[in-house]
């Protein structure tokens, strides 16, 4: 029973965030030069008379005030109807669901790899400050931290797909193959390069932050006391370091979900991977307003839930952070 109130508080806060995101993104859409009727008609624009256009606009409720239109949209949103995507000719919710399944394989594995590898590298580098290993890891982290994702992706495609031919150049499966025919191995093969690129970049920031926290710990009273007890550097890093360094690592890992989402848009574009990122670009370029709004809301939900999980995890690791807000 004690858990219900904090969870309710969290959910209410989440709803508030989503409402704000809905309001802002809707306002941006309204302010944008996109004409939904033009976007809907596409190339058939020339074949439609001004009277017919006016009829469509009236049917869609464009003659009403912005507030009323927003109200309509919000009401539909709450009832679960996100609208119709004219780019994919499917309900927006279906497009997002399908695309997200693909993206989560890419995002999830890249996120997991970057978090785990980044954390381990940071702990090792921080525990052995000034050693050769530390120098190598730090240099690597600084270089990748300043590398743009799309550029690295293009280089990776050039090297591994075009020159060496180890990995496919595009898509989530072989061209022309039906979804059901693609085996798991083939899927993984297609995922390999995008995941590696995305993970490689995510590792850097987590490594650097973990390393900094480790350096701080190794000079702290806790470490000196442990050394006085006869502990080795490895012992201190293992027993004290892992706990202390995991707080910033978790913050960063979950805060970077949004960044990873942004990165995946570029990566999916370069690798022509049919995920949510690619759908976002298509929706933006072809003025698919309902899809764009849907994706904005979904991304906000995804990132907020990530932060919520991070908040809850702090209390587990650091007892000084009271789990008051759960």
């Amino acid at each position: 029973m004690r858990l219900i109130a904090p969870i309710a508080k969290r959910v209410a806060r989440l709803a508030l965030v989503l409402t704000c995101v809905a309001l802002v993104s809707y306002g941006l859409m309204m302010a944008s030069p996109i004409d939904p009727v033009d976007a809907y008609l596409g190339p058939q624009m020339a074949q439609v008379s001004p009277e017919q256009r006016a009829l469509i606009a009236q049917r869609w409720g464009f003659d009403e005030s912005v507030a009323v239109q927003f109200g309509h949209w919000l009401r539909q949103l709450v009832s679960g109807d996100l609208g119709w995507s004219h780019v994919y000719n499917q309900p927006v919710s279906e497009v997002i669901a399908q695309r997200f399944q693909r993206s989560i394989a890419l995002l999830g594995s890249a996120w997991l790899i970057s978090a785990l590898v980044g954390f381990s590298l940071g702990v090792v580098a921080g525990a052995k400050e000034g050693s050769k290993l530390d120098n190598i890891i730090s240099t690597y982290a600084f270089i990748t931290a300043s590398t743009p994702a799309f550029w690295l992706a293009i280089l990776a495609v050039l090297l591994f797909s075009v020159t060496l031919g180890w990995t496919p150049t595009c898509c989530a499966g072989p061209a022309g193959a039906l979804n059901q025919e693609v085996t798991l191995a083939t899927r993984l093969h297609h995922l390999l390069l995008p995941v590696a690129t995305l993970a490689l970049l995510g590792i850097a920031s987590i490594t650097l932050h973990t390393r900094t926290r480790m350096l701080e710990l190794m000079r702290s009273d806790v470490a000196t006391h442990a050394f006085a007890q006869g502990a080795s550097r490895l012992d201190v890093a293992w027993r004290h370091g892992l706990r202390h360094a995991s707080v910033p690592a978790i913050t960063l890992a979950f805060a970077s979900l949004g960044e990873l989402f942004g990165g995946s848009i570029l990566i999916e574009q370069v690798f022509a991977y049919p995920g949510l990122g690619q759908a976002t670009v298509a929706a933006g370029l072809r003025s698919d307003v309902p899809l764009l709004l849907g994706i904005a809301l979904f991304t906000a939900l995804f990132v907020s839930v990530g932060n919520m999980i991070a908040d809850s995890l702090y209390g587990v690791i650091d007892p000084r952070i009271k789990a008051s807000g759960l």
Binding site: S220, D221, V222, T224, H225, A226, F227, A228, Q229, G230, A231, D235, R239, H240, R243, H244, I317, D318, P319, R320
Partner: protein, 274 residues
């Protein structure tokens, strides 16, 4: 047990970014500690007391310049032997309560101390419980985190960590700081008891009066130099048996003695003129 012979310590001091000076923190400091005694090292802040503790433990920062010799049980105590004996023969009760890991439960930390002292894992948990029980820390305190403990309890946990290692030489750095008289007495009594078991205790403090009831001998330190080593019983009445003017003045400056501060300043001036 421990002999410090003409120990000098210099730490780098950066007056400006291109110039490095060396600040002398310990100056030809000599001291002998016997088994079964509480040896109080008393001095003002900045006298080099804590650095002395770190020098014995071998925990000084790397660019330190150390001269002189340390002997532990008759054999030279060099860096490699310090590394070997730390936690097993030599134990430090640190000054700061932040030496307890805030993310680890009390008993686990004491267990780690036992394991680091070379006890097998199976025994270490049991030993840590015994040590904590010994210092009257109940089950709740044993499962608590550092921020949930009072100052006195945290101090006793640190003492238990030194106790569980079964070290023969325990250095307690300002163990009575920030404690009420009752808690302070408990902590100091615990140290006295360690000495009664045949161990050596170096009690570092700036409270001469707190140290006297439990100390066998007292060394007064000033600016990294040894002023005087005297038996604790020399600190009574007017301190007439103290040979050094500074230690005598320190004794007389205590509120319940003469509360006199003029004596030292006049003598100081004379010393300066001379």
């Amino acid at each position: 047990m421990l002999t410090i012979d003409q120990l000098s310590l210099q730490l780098p001091l950066y007056a400006s970014w291109w110039k490095r000076d060396w600040a002398t923190c310990l100056d030809e400091f000599s001291l002998t500690v016997f088994p079964g005694e509480v040896h109080a090292v008393v001095g003002a802040s900045g006298a080099g007391k804590s650095l002395l503790a770190y020098a014995i433990m071998g925990l000084l920062p790397t660019p330190a310049r150390l001269n002189g010799q340390l002997y532990y049980q008759g054999k030279p105590l060099n860096a490699s032997r310090q590394r070997q004996l730390r936690g097993r023969e030599l134990a430090l009760i640190p000054q700061s309560l932040s030496a307890l890991d805030p993310l680890v439960r009390t008993q686990r930390q004491v267990t780690w101390a036992a394991q680091r002292a070379g006890q097998p894992s199976a025994h270490a948990w049991h030993a840590s419980q015994q040590a904590l029980d010994h210092y009257q820390l109940d089950a709740r305190a044993q499962q608590a985190y550092a921020h949930e403990l009072s100052g006195g309890m945290a101090r006793r946990v640190l003492t238990a960590m030194a106790h569980v290692s079964q070290a023969k030489l325990v250095i307690a750095d300002e163990p009575s700081v920030g404690l009420d008289p009752h808690q302070r007495q408990r902590v100091l009594d615990a140290l006295r008891e360690l000495a009664n078991q045949g161990k050596s205790v170096i009690l570092i403090t700036h409270h001469l009066r707190h140290a006297l009831p439990i100390a066998d001998r007292v060394t007064i330190m000033r600016d990294g130099k040894l002023v005087e080593t005297a038996p604790a019983c020399a600190f009574q009445d007017s301190g007439a048996s103290l040979t050094n003017a500074y230690s005598q003045a320190l004794w007389l400056a205590l509120p319940d003695n003469a509360f006199a501060t003029t004596a030292i300043s006049r003598r100081e001036q004379e010393a300066h003129v001379a």
